[in-house]
Every structure is written in structure tokens, then in C-alpha cells.
């Protein structure tokens, strides 16, 4: 697997803003075919997300991995951010998973562990909407993001400090989360990449990676 790119550009901060999200538009198309979808949001509780999804009568499970990652970076004694996920006993599959600006802040082993959990709560019909930084530098903490009007995503940095981004390529992401395949990719105006992942055929997966 490729190592991180250490070439640095001029440091710059990410200003707050919004962009029209083609990934969100894809999600809207998907939800229109669902009745009472089960949605997993790996970010913090967001009124805008609840409001956006409410028209589809969903059941939204909130597992705030974003806050756990921030906590682990700010406190040396903080628990593993993935601990609460691995302790969950309810493994009923979700129809839709939101994973915005998360994997950039996890190590390779962390992304692989997250992938194992996501596989345990996915079915062949599950889709995942993820966003990743593909720039040399990224904010040191995950963005504060919420859904805006007309399929826009509004974002605001939690910190002005920048750090080197891992710049996971599509191939690397798929190697770390092998049960997923990329159905659509979009480049956002702020430098992030959005991916709509679908689930590969479970029947071709070996049972060796079923340990979560």
C-alpha cells in the first residue's frame, strides 16, 4: 500500500462554505425508492439531517464517530473511537449509511476495523455516502457538516490548523473496506471527493473477515 505523500504545499485554511452535493442528489434518488429506510449516521446529531430525511419516514441510528475521533485527538486518555461501534449488539442491516469526512482521520487499521463493522450492518441493498479529502493538506479535525437547501452540504471547519492528509486513493479505500464497491464519484468544490458505495456480492466474500 502506498505511504502518505509528505510533499507540502503552502499552508492554507479551509473557509466555511457550502457546495451542491451530487452525492446527496444520488442519495435522494435512492431514498425515493425506499419505504421507512434504516439510516446510519456516523456523524453527530444534526437537525438538518433529521429534517431532510423526515420526508422518507426513516429510522435514523446516530453513532457519532466524528465526536469520538475529535475526543481521541484532544484527550490522551480518550477511548478508541471505534469502541462504541464494535460494542453494538444490534446488527440489523441499514439501507443508507452516512460517513462524511471520517476515514481521513483514521489509521489504515482504523479504516479496516470500521469496514468490518460496516459489513456487519450492511445488506446487498445498502449504500454508503462517504466523503474524503484528496488534498495534500486537510483540517486537523473533521469538518462540521450538515445538509442545506436543495441538496447542498454546508461545512465549517472546527479548527484553523491544517495537517497532512492521508490521501487515500480509491483503490486503497476499496482494499481497506473490501465489501464495498464505488458506484459513483464526485469532486466537490472544496477539494473533497464524494463516493457512493454499494455492496459487493456477499456470496463471493470469504468468512475469514467476519470477525468484527
Amino acid at each position: 500500500m502506498n505511504t502518505f505523500c509528505l510533499r507540502r504545499s503552502q499552508p492554507s485554511t479551509i473557509p466555511a462554505g457550502f457546495y451542491r452535493s451530487l452525492g446527496l442528489a444520488s442519495v435522494a434518488e435512492f431514498l425515493a425508492t425506499k419505504s421507512r429506510p434504516r439510516v446510519l449516521d456516523l456523524g453527530p446529531a444534526r437537525a438538518a439531517t433529521v429534517a431532510y430525511l423526515s420526508t422518507y419516514r426513516p429510522r435514523i441510528q446516530i453513532e457519532d464517530l466524528t465526536s469520538a475521533i475529535i475526543d481521541s485527538r484532544e484527550r490522551t486518555a480518550a477511548p478508541d473511537p471505534l469502541l462504541s461501534l464494535t460494542e453494538m449488539t444490534d446488527r440489523r442491516p441499514f439501507d443508507l449509511i452516512f460517513a462524511w469526512d471520517l476515514c481521513n482521520y483514521l489509521s489504515v487499521s482504523g479504516v479496516e476495523a470500521l469496514g468490518r463493522y460496516l459489513r456487519s450492518v450492511s445488506s446487498p441493498r445498502t449504500i454508503l455516502f462517504g466523503s474524503f479529502w484528496n488534498t495534500i493538506e486537510m483540517p486537523e479535525l473533521p469538518l462540521h457538516m450538515h445538509i442545506g437547501k436543495e441538496n447542498t452540504l454546508v461545512y465549517e471547519p472546527r479548527s484553523a490548523v491544517m495537517t497532512v492528509g492521508p490521501r487515500y486513493s480509491k483503490r486503497q479505500i476499496l482494499e481497506m473496506i473490501p465489501h464495498l464497491q464505488i458506484a459513483r464519484s464526485f469532486l466537490a468544490r472544496n477539494g473533497m471527493e464524494e463516493h457512493i458505495f454499494t455492496t459487493r456480492d456477499f456470496s463471493v466474500e470469504s468468512s475469514a473477515d467476519d470477525n468484527v
Binding site: A45, S54, I62
Partner: protein
């Protein structure tokens, strides 16, 4: 004559006491007293009643106030399932929340459990770990069928509400 006045006074007093527990019939928004569990109090058990409740202390058990509002204040620490007409969460709750109308989780609120209500309002910064469900149509039908088949959707008070009020007072330690 004095005795007759005594009797009249007794009857009058009895009518006033009964009126406190009778369902009000003239107004659509009856004035109800509200109780507060102060921040030095700890209650373990089942809280039921027919009045609004503000929790600033610790509560463990269950809280059922289906016709009223429950407020968990900033210093409130609740380990209980709460079933109420509406809720405002400003403190910490570990348990499931179910409301017939609305649940508001303020920015300082923390909920570890499932949240279910037709309307759920989250302030920026509100923390929830659990599920959020705004589709309560099935649950509403079940709750009204099992408690009182004649109860209307507007929630006319039941005749045993007087017992419920007494229960809420006696449960407080």
C-alpha cells in the same frame, strides 16, 4: 344556624377538593401545577402523574406523564425511559424517550437511547447516541388502544388521574 354553616362549609370544602382532581371541562388548556425535582434530590422508582415535571436532580426508573411536559434541566441526570406529551432535554438522559407531540434536545443535552416523537428538534451541539424516529403513527394507535379504548386523540383526561397525581407525590423521597 352555626351548625348549618359548618355543614355548608364542609360541603363546600369537599367540592373544592374534588374539583382539584376532576378533569376541567370548560377550558381546552387547563392550568396545571408543575413539579420540580431539585438538583439535590435523587429518586429511584416509577414516576407517574398528571402535571408537568422539571428534573434538575437524579432520577432512576421510569417517568410516565403522557399528558404533560417533562423537562430535564441542565443539572438533571436521568437513567430512565421517559414517556410524555412533550419533552425538553437540557441535561443527560440514558434511556428511551417517547413523546406524543415533540422532543426538543438543546445544545447542552445528551441522550443515550432512542428518541421517538412526531416532531424532533435538535439544537446545534445536541448529542444523541441512539436512534431517532419521527414516524410514530403505529405507536400512537397502540398506546391509545391499550390504555382506554374511549380515549380520544385529543387526550381527554381519564377518571383515575386523581390517583396518578397522588402517586407522583408519594413516590418522591
Amino acid at each position: 344556624m352555626f351548625g348549618k354553616n359548618d355543614t355548608e362549609k364542609k360541603l363546600e370544602t369537599t367540592r373544592i377538593d374534588a374539583a382539584r382532581f376532576d378533569a376541567p371541562t370548560t377550558t381546552s388548556a387547563p392550568q396545571q401545577s408543575a413539579s420540580t425535582i431539585g438538583n439535590s434530590l435523587k429518586i429511584q422508582g416509577e414516576i407517574t402523574g398528571a402535571e408537568d415535571l422539571t428534573i434538575e436532580g437524579r432520577v432512576e426508573g421510569t417517568v410516565t406523564l403522557k399528558q404533560n411536559r417533562v423537562t430535564v434541566g441542565k443539572s438533571g441526570r436521568v437513567s430512565a425511559n421517559i414517556n410524555a406529551k412533550s419533552m425538553i432535554i437540557d441535561g443527560e438522559v440514558t434511556g428511551d424517550l417517547e413523546a406524543a407531540e415533540q422532543i426538543l434536545v438543546r445544545k447542552s443535552g445528551l441522550v443515550k437511547g432512542n428518541v421517538r416523537a412526531p416532531r424532533i428538534v435538535l439544537e446545534d451541539g445536541a448529542r444523541i447516541k441512539g436512534s431517532v424516529d419521527t414516524d410514530t403513527t403505529e405507536n400512537l394507535l397502540v398506546s391509545y388502544e391499550t390504555t382506554a379504548p374511549s380515549t380520544t386523540v385529543n387526550g381527554a383526561k381519564k377518571a383515575d388521574d386523581s390517583k396518578s397525581s397522588a402517586t407522583s407525590r408519594s413516590a418522591i423521597q
